[in-house]
């Protein structure tokens, strides 16, 4: 069994629509794990990319949705309110995500589902929604295992590790491991180390160029150099550069990819940019 994923949004921080971003897309984080069936869906994050996914799920007749949120910053959550299946009473949705040290996922999400941030209240949502706090024991379903671990980013934030049939994908879209160190430390002391260790594909934050990062240390994101260092440190096989800076045009992103390839050791697979609509198949 292979793991297949489709990227519905890979922009970071803020949607960036426009002529300059049509190639890589302007929607914020949303990735679908393709289960090979129409009645169920497994989704990672609810950035604005989930709006188009929702319409597609309606078209497919999907009635059961498992949604895993890495964290609740708006670029990973704001699409949820415009996710068509949530407005369908025949749909069952399980939402998994990080609790805070003082409140559960449900209470945290409901804040964004109420005035003044949104005209409706969560009580108006017709779909049958259940909230589940993470981290918890790995979730297993239809041959897919999803494990979560807290990673370094402001506020409670998770990285996900998906495994199926011997294939592994690590999804760590918002992550600043350099803040506590990458090189020269054992992997158990590197944030996200266990989530990404030996992954076939690592989808990782690479929001900044090196010179941009200097002014944004502590903001929770990685430079392209740190993304490459992290990939090498955890011995992930293939790096997919994710969480694109909203200011960066398609051409500027291509230059970032060139930079990533310069930084990656020659004996490793060259990194690639995540792109809206991209499908990844990870075989054993």
């Amino acid at each position: 069994m292979s793991l297949r994923l489709k990227i519905w949004g890979c922009r970071g921080s803020l949607p960036a629509p426009g002529n300059d971003t049509v190639a890589f897309g302007g929607n914020t984080s949303c990735v679908e794990v393709l289960l090979g069936r129409d009645d169920e869906a497994l989704v990672l994050d609810a950035g604005t990319g989930i709006r188009a996914l929702g319409l597609d799920l309606v078209r497919r007749g999907t009635r059961r949705i498992h949604l895993f949120l890495t964290h609740l910053h708006l670029d990973h959550l704001e699409g949820l309110r415009f996710f068509a299946p949530i407005w369908d009473e025949d749909v069952v949705i399980d939402i998994w995500g990080p609790r805070s040290p003082v409140s559960g996922l449900r209470d945290r999400i409901l804040r964004s589902f109420s005035p003044p941030l949104f005209p409706l209240d969560f009580r108006d949502v017709p779909a049958r929604v259940t909230f589940h706090d993470l981290p918890a024991k790995p979730w297993r379903h239809e041959g897919v295992t999803l494990a979560s671990e807290l990673v370094l980013h402001p506020g409670p934030t998770l990285g996900f590790r998906l495994e199926a049939g011997g294939s592994t994908v690590a999804y760590v879209p918002d992550h600043e491991p350099a803040l506590t160190g990458i090189e020269g430390r054992s992997i158990d002391w590197v944030s996200g180390g266990a989530i990404a260790a030996g992954a076939d594909v690592l989808m990782h934050d690479a929001q900044y160029l090196e010179d941009e990062y200097d002014a944004k240390v502590g903001w929770g994101h990685s430079s392209v150099a740190d993304a490459v260092s992290f990939c090498c440190a955890v011995d992930a096989k293939r790096l997919v550069l994710f969480h694109h800076e909203p200011e960066r045009s398609d051409r500027a992103l291509e230059l970032l990819e060139i930079r990533a390839r310069e930084l990656m050791p020659a004996d490793r697979t060259p990194p690639v940019l995540a792109r809206e609509g991209m499908e990844l198949e990870v075989g054993p």
Partner: protein, 131 residues
């Protein structure tokens, strides 16, 4: 995924915090294993952490022959680190130790537990001062 391969994020952050402090600080995980002490602590202990490595915290503290200010043996359950580990509460005490250089020193130790999600106990931090 092997959870044993990964330190809890709170411990990673605690280590980063400690590594920037001039106050001698050590960290143990929830199982009572010493996982880190900082450069300031190395100066007092007389040995780099890289030489010590991870080890049971009781074994580590026993090396320093902890004693009361009256030079009586200090029972493990009275040591602040043990109180923080077993009782999950903060503790502070002044007592005597003998450093690796053989010199007896009076130290004050403050230890406190670290709780992460939903009161999940993930370890302790101990800071100490030479009196």
């Amino acid at each position: 995924m092997d959870p044993q391969r990964q330190k809890h994020l709170v411990l990673i952050l605690a280590r980063q915090f400690a590594s920037n402090l001039s106050t001698p600080t050590l960290i143990a995980d929830e199982r009572g294993s010493l996982v880190y002490y900082n450069e300031a602590a190395e100066a007092v202990i007389g040995r780099r952490f890289a030489e010590t490595g991870e080890m049971p915290i009781d074994e580590f503290t026993a090396e320093f022959d902890p004693r009361t200010l009256e030079s009586e043996p200090l029972a493990p359950e009275r040591r602040p680190i043990r109180v923080a580990l077993d009782g999950h509460r903060a503790s502070h005490l002044a007592y005597l130790v003998t450093s690796t250089d053989g010199v007896e020193r009076e130290v004050e130790v403050s230890a406190f537990p670290l709780f992460a999600q939903t009161e999940e106990f993930v370890g302790i931090v101990a800071m100490f001062w030479r009196v």
